[in-house]
Symmetry: none
Subunit: 188 residues, 4 copies
DNA sequence: GATGAATGAGCATTCATTCAT
DNA sequence: CATGAATGAATGCTCATTCAT
């Protein structure tokens, strides 16, 4: 990705996360990227294409992080802990992108179906970890698919938590608490 | 709410959930409600006002359900179980509205801040239940606010689960599994 | 056709004839029709639709004129003479529309194919007259289709003649000369 | 004209004839000519200049053909016959260019006025032939200017005939029929 | 000679809102 | 109460032209 395209990419992430897909304007993306509006169209065919690019890149990098951990020589338990921490931190560091993602899961437009498909491959990655952990007896036997969604729900919850009470608690503390609650439940 | 206003309300919920706030059009709402476009403006001041109305009504009814349960003569544990089940079912039955809600939590617009404020009062309601449960020793001591967000995260996760694998599992089974996992954690 | 739609129609004929399809702008049509730009889209779906409407209406009225003459109780020779005169006058009176037509016969766009199809039904009308005249022995046996095209070529030639030497000769004189030349040829 | 310029010229003729002046794009011309867009501007100052170049070249070659025939040692009658055949064939062989020409006779733009001026010199050439033929008694006394326009109208009619019924009749047959009809008229 | 990235003015189209009936 | 024609600001997108390499 060359310099101009990267500038557009970064501007787009910010704009989409602030205004959502429909609220975002090409004028504003161009302004934020400090290029002329025509330049957007030199590098991308349309607003939708910029959006897709943003989403694909983002999900790619979240998956890449999981794969990396999965290939480490660690037990299932440590892997799960590490993935939790890693993904929570990642979604927090790229809060802007994450908001784009979540606000566009719903709905009937093509780009929205596309996001759901991409997310599915992401979920499958989490599922695999859960399945391994189950077979190792680390995690209760159960529905690994549902677990992967709950995991994702936690990411979203954290994102909302952050946006509603912005910055009253360190992200590290939040992450640790969430991991504890998810792993061991809330009952005394 | 008279007949026409109710028709507009219901049309609006559907339209907003299908297209999001910006994607929704007054033309389409009028069409779905089978009234003339001008009629929308007789009953509401603007698109934003219709949207607010939809959101306030929805959150109101979710809160009402919790209050009702809270006033029952039950122990903390049973209350939590009941609220879980009730809210998961409610968010599933009103999936359309729920999608509107989630897609609009993010962003800087006024209506979005307003939603976050309304949600906060909802979270506070959940928090109270958690606090009571903690003082009764039913739930681990911890951060009740965070717990209320994780609870909400589970609602969202279920909604996504439903939309992605639409209808492969009965909602009752899903609800029970989620309650188990949330209460007791995933570890073996 | 109500008042507003008529105003748009007339503005469109002028604008398209002055600038061609691509050169014409919706802004200018709105200006000429003295309505807001949005009004164009209240009455027509798109620029193409305005264009189609203009063309269909125009060809319709040229065909109507021929049909009317065809139904009169006249001999073939008189009919041909009358149709020549009538169509030449008509195309001259609606020079603006006629220019729109001719400039858009060529090319691969949908609207252009559509025009050619409409013109074909027009040509067929002329053909019928020629066929009748042949069977009555008034016109030489030959290719009636080609004759109908030559007839149309004469209309165009007159239009060009008018535009190049604008107004140096009365249209009536021009018409009579053309009829003579077409009917009897140029040879001495 | 060097190789690159010729490639651009030929690409331009095709593009202009397919899309008209305004519909044609520099991008597409560059693509068709297999050169970079900037190269167009190395060889021509602007889109208008390419267009002018195309038109001037085309009319030049049609005039050249007439002059050549005019200089032959033939009677008026033979000359007219030869010119008819020659120009009809030429306009058919360069149908693409011819379409560009006709679609741009109309309208108020500078390039369109320019075309009309160039055409006038072309018409004058035809006129001369007619005048000579009249003085020799080969052609009826009359308006030689109008005759030259009718002649041009026949070229156009043939072009339309060709485009509408593409290729159902050999061009040679069409040409002969047209010459007959123009010279001797359609009456029996 | 030739290239292609970058530009920005211009354009078709959308849509929330108004208002006379 | 209800309507729907009319509005015009806003927006996605196109494309001729420029210019540094």
């Amino acid at each position: 990705m060359n310099k101009t395209k990267r500038a557009i990419f970064e501007a787009a992430v910010r704009e989409f996360s602030e205004r959502g897909y429909n609220g975002a304007t090409m004028d504003e993306i161009a302004l934020k990227a400090r290029v002329a509006k025509g330049t957007l169209y030199y590098h991308f065919k349309s607003k939708e294409e910029i959006f897709s690019f943003v989403v694909v890149e983002g999900i790619k990098s979240m998956q890449a992080a999981i794969s990396e951990i999965n290939e480490m020589d660690l037990g299932s338990f440590e892997k799960i802990r590490l993935i939790c921490k890693n993904q929570l931190t990642l979604s927090n560091d790229n809060r802007e992108f994450f908001k784009v993602l979540i606000s566009q899961i719903w709905g009937k437009e093509n780009r929205q179906s596309e996001i759901r498909m991409l997310l599915n491959t992401y979920f499958r990655e989490i599922e695999k970890v859960m399945e391994q952990a189950m077979s190792e007896g680390v995690v209760k036997k159960g529905n690994p698919k549902l677990m992967s969604f709950l995991f994702f729900g936690n990411l979203i919850a954290t994102a909302i938590y952050e946006i509603v009470n912005n910055g009253v608690q360190s992200i590290d503390d939040t992450v640790n608490e969430i991991i504890e609650l998810s792993l061991r439940g809330i009952l005394a």
